[in-house]
Symmetry: C2
Subunit: 211 residues, 2 copies
Amino acid sequence: MKGECDTKQRLLDTAIELIWEQSYGAVSVDVICERAGARKGSFYHFFPSKSDLTVAAIEEHWEKLRPELDRMFSPQVPPLERLSGYCELVYERQSQKKKKFGRVCGCAFTSLASELSTQDEKIRQKSQQILDRRCRYFAAALRDAVREGLIPEQDCESKARELFGCVMGVLLEAKIENDLEIIRHLKPTIFRLIGVGEKRFAGEAALHAKV
Amino acid sequence: MKGECDTKQRLLDTAIELIWEQSYGAVSVDVICERAGARKGSFYHFFPSKSDLTVAAIEEHWEKLRPELDRMFSPQVPPLERLSGYCELVYERQSQKKKKFGRVCGCAFTSLASELSTQDEKIRQKSQQILDRRCRYFAAALRDAVREGLIPEQDCESKARELFGCVMGVLLEAKIENDLEIIRHLKPTIFRLIGVGEKRFAGEAALHAKV
DNA sequence: TTTCCAGTTGACTGATTGGTCAACTTGTGG
DNA sequence: CCACAAGTTGACCAATCAGTCAACTGGAAA
């Protein structure tokens, strides 16, 4: 076959990039095709609609992110270090995006979900699925932390939701203020919520800095 | 004059309602006009563009919300009760919206900000202004709580930001999951973040129930 | 060699988009 | 009574929107 399906891949990558930087409503099928170097016929050969392309692009974006999360939340890493490492990863990714695009773009999943959850049920469900997956990393880290006696006994699943709510909130705040530094508050917020005192948390951070 | 400018008011009210339920991108000037019972010429008589209408609608929506917040955060109310009362107000408003529209719509300000902050600078700035105003209520409540010795000494301004990030996050989570009950987690999250133990917080809640 | 088909192309559609405009209505102040 | 201005109206615009389609391409299987 022609380009070994890399047209489809380019459409997915371009779509999530543009939607992340702008919004679903502001990005037309035409400009996605143009930036991806594809014709509209190809677009509709691979995807039945703009909405379906978006669902697929969300999944693709997740698959790109997953290896980084798997590494950060590896059982090899001490549980509380996974969380602080994640906070740094979030900052790092937003920083890179800002360097490229000139603005704090926030979380692509979250922005899409916020824009379309009341209108497009398929995208809402996909967003919910991604949210679940991301919370699983947090929940696992919390369970391990409890088992090792690092944090008080608690409901790790609902706590993971709580923490992730904060992640979404902080990222949104940073986007609204167009200020990366707001993301720096994420780590202390999260550690306070799971009941780790300032000093202990500081110790963890120092440990992480050494490694 | 004709309708004493109530056309302008209807345009503002209709706009924020539709955008809240759907999104900026999904709501056209035509449908705003239709639902408001106005012609397009009237729309552009009052507002130079869709973007300007939206900025004005945000301000209008704020003016509608403000009396409720002023009442809830009145110096007459004990500081921690203001916060728990606010959490209940949030739940109540989302519950009403869901009854009317059938879906959890989240926060109108936040949804607009999330969709447009990277694209429309005027809307971004307006969103940031609203965020500031809302945080002021939190900050004042926290300062009073510190003064009364109800919570530990802390930086109330940045703590207010932190709390409000959680509010935005929880509301977004509730919208994505289309589940009101997630908002119930907001109160304990907030009280944990300001360093109020579960029992003390429970006591505050009981006090509030009596009044 | 022929068949087959995933992928490509560009022209096309009808509906909708945000926005314009000149003519009109109507209450008010002089 | 007139003039003025705020507000209204409906026709109109070019551009863009998501989506369609028949014809074409080229490599692989038979």
